[in-house]
Amino acid sequence: MARLSLSEIPHDIWVVAELDAEHREPTPLALEMTYGARMAADLMGFYVKVVVLGSDLPDVSASLIQAGADRVYLVDHPAVASLAVEPWLKALSDVFLAQSPEFVLFGATPLGGELAPRLAQRFGGGLIARCVSLRVDDFDRAFVGRRAAYGGEYYEVVATSGPAPQFATALPDCFGPPYMDASRFGETEGVELELERGAWSVGESEVVEFEMPVPKLKNARRIVSVGRQVGDVEAAKRLASAIGAEFAGAREAIDEGYIDESWVVGITGERVGPDLYIALGIRGDTMHAFGIQDARCVVAVHPDPDAPIFKQADAGIVGDPAKVAGELMKLLRDT
């Protein structure tokens, strides 16, 4: 696709709002983005323009206006009834060509994740994908956003630049809950477009069953995990079997011969989310920390009081992991 250029100097901030499939009203993320756009618009002196696409659209503008939209564009066309991407792309390119947006916000949804990069490429614009926070910098006239690196262990700060339209996709909570102002006024406008089914002929699609390979620890409710400092690994294994837990380890436990490749917890292994995660002799570096972010309760035993694992643990004991494991086994055996 040849690159498209805008005829006018770009202006205003746009939100592409998706509708809840069931209730046919703007999703919470769409309202949150509209509110985020409102804050940027108040700083910059923009209008907030929201575009909604679908077939047989109900009047969805009221809540979008309350969240901060100055104008809501409704593209009502049978071609955008399904989520086939091509008519959506055509519709949005036509709207953007006619309206010259400076900033465009999409939700970081499956649809937004497809449309935003394609439109950014089409208009020669930068994109910050999957922002956990985002603002418009009034000095540089640029989106500045944070996106997660290595599963959220830290963030990369990324800035887009003009003069082409600038794009971002936002994750939920990027801006915080919207302030719904019932006294706000806004306009609603229907947009007539010529849309076709498109040339990318995808055959009939059907919903099918598919078995994703289930990671070994995915459904484990309790995990006993070991690291280099565990001491007597057999004590840890006994604890695991006594409380009905899976036995796993940090990557370093492979080097010690305690576990094999398929039982590693961490960035290069599995991300787990058990109710109880008992870390025995694991120092707890970044790689491992990533793997246990979703665990409900983390217990750590390590001889070094400064081990980073204690910062992730709900309860920690500084001491000999094997000894504590043995005692704990006796205390918990009957539960």
Binding site: P110, P117, L127, V157, S205, E209, T268, C297, A315
Partner: protein
């Protein structure tokens, strides 16, 4: 039949630690590895190639691996050859140093054009480092091709790609005529290792071609990134949890919190 696999190299997470208090990423060992999603894309390409060979296609399928980046990317491309790529192309130019996904998509699309097009372009859906998923749709756009996102299964026959893709919590099956860009979800496939012998051959016997921005006839406009990385930011430092004296006290807490 030409299959292009675009691969990425990422900083090995085993080599760095994130210190939230100091707000720094400490790189202890600066090593780069083939992104797990690229590993899977290469393996899917080999599977497709073997299936096509078994069904006696008219022209033997060829796998071309491509990557954009500095000198170190050479390792990723040799690994790709060890995984079965017959040809590896390194898009290497000082002008690519500031490349974002937009410039990368331009360059990869231009390189695929220079190859005379591809029937199938394969990528990982999300990389380990940024997980932005930005490149596959951008590349599809630059090539003016459809993009089958989040594929969990791929089969090529009779000039069509048969795909099962993940949509939220469900899966759909569809087919689309070639050429097409397909991005694969790494978790849906087993990762694997390249054979050691092939890896040795990749370094000793085979060579990686290098193409510059000029080779790809890229203009200054094509090379200007739309987004730049400004730095890092860090979540709040984790707080120490409760320090517990002994196992008895710990067992008590676990019971009280009803986790056991």
């Amino acid at each position: 039949m030409k299959i292009v696999v675009c691969v990425k190299q990422v900083l090995d997470p085993r080599g760095f630690t994130v210190n939230r208090k100091a707000e720094k990423v400490f790189v202890n060992r600066e090593e780069y590895v083939l992104d797990p999603a690229s590993n899977v894309a290469l393996r899917v390409a080999s599977t497709v190639k073997s299936a096509l060979e078994a069904s006696n296609g008219a022209t033997p399928p060829e796998i071309v691996a491509m990557s954009l980046g500095p000198d170190r990317v050479d390792d990723a491309l040799r690994e790709a050859m060890a995984f079965g790529a017959g040809r590896a192309i390194h898009l290497k130019d000082a002008a690519f140093e500031s490349a974002d996904a937009m410039v990368a998509a331009h360059a990869l699309a231009a390189a695929i054009g220079k190859l005379g097009g591809a029937d199938l372009v394969l990528l990982g859906a999300r990389s380990l480092d940024t997980s932005s998923g930005e490149l596959p749709p951008r590349l599809a756009e630059a090539l003016d091709l459809p993009h089958a996102a989040n594929a969990v299964s791929l089969d090529v026959r009779e000039g069509r790609a048969w795909i099962v893709a993940k949509h939220g919590d469900s899966f759909t099956r569809f087919s689309t005529p070639l050429p097409v860009v397909v991005s694969v979800i790494p978790e849906a496939f087993e990762t694997g290792y390249a054979s050691g012998w092939r890896l040795m051959d990749a370094y000793k016997k085979w060579s990686v071609e290098a193409w510059s921005a000029a080779d790809l006839s890229m203009t200054e406009d094509d090379l200007r990134p739309g987004a730049v990385k400004k730095g890092e930011a860090f979540p709040a430092e984790r707080q120490f949890g409760t320090r517990v004296g002994d196992a008895a006290e710990l067992a008590e807490i676990l019971r009280r919190e009803r986790v056991i």
